[in-house]
């Protein structure tokens, strides 16, 4: 019986590790997606007013015409 309990406990531990790995992977992927969709990404520095260290960034998509 004790052997069975140990095996179940080990399996449970393995599942916990796998779940943690999958959650970590999902978090990394979600971060990548968020970074890819950040409006200011790829901005030409010449088309920016103000330093990058400020707390608020306004991104304006505009049309000259």
């Amino acid at each position: 019986m004790n052997g069975v309990r140990v095996r179940v406990a080990r399996r449970s531990g393995v599942y916990t590790i796998w779940t943690a790995c999958l959650l970590a992977l999902a978090a990394v992927l979600a971060g990548d997606v968020a970074a890819q969709t950040a409006p200011e990404l790829g901005a030409d520095p010449a088309m920016v007013k103000g330093p990058a260290t400020v707390p608020v960034t306004i991104v304006e998509f505009s049309d000259y015409q």
Partner: protein
């Protein structure tokens, strides 16, 4: 922007609407101005010159804003920044932008031209949230 000096950054992105035939060359011209170090004066001159965006107009605005004529003409004629403008358009579409102007204030969208009070409110909220 002056009232929020040191607390707010403004990023300009190109989104020439397909219905505005002369907008895209104007955006490419502004990128040329940026590459020659005069983006913001040229940007302001374009808005003041709406809707006159023929090639001669674009070159005249460049000369008026102190840009070197020959280098500017070469840049617009080669369409050196066509892909950069297109990249902004693609980004805008990815973000769901459909009309101009569209703003993102710390990621929060604000569509259309709003009274300055609206901007103050959204910026003040964003500043509070950033504390």
């Amino acid at each position: 922007m002056k009232d929020y000096d040191g607390r707010v950054r403004l990023v300009f992105k190109d989104f020439p609407l397909p219905s505005h035939a002369l907008a895209r060359p104007a955006h490419e011209a502004a990128r040329c101005a940026a590459s020659l170090g005069r983006f913001w004066p040229y940007h302001d001159r374009l808005f003041a010159g709406q809707p006159d965006f023929g090639r001669d107009d674009l070159v005249r605005y460049a000369v008026e804003t102190g840009l070197p004529r020959a280098a500017f003409e070469r840049c617009i004629d080669e369409r050196r920044f066509a892909s950069a403008v297109e990249a902004d358009v693609a980004k805008a579409r990815e973000l769901g932008v459909r009309s101009t102007p569209t703003f993102f204030i710390n990621g929060r969208p604000l569509v259309g031209a709003h009274p300055v009070e609206t901007f103050r409110k959204v910026i003040d909220d964003a500043l509070k949230a950033a504390r």
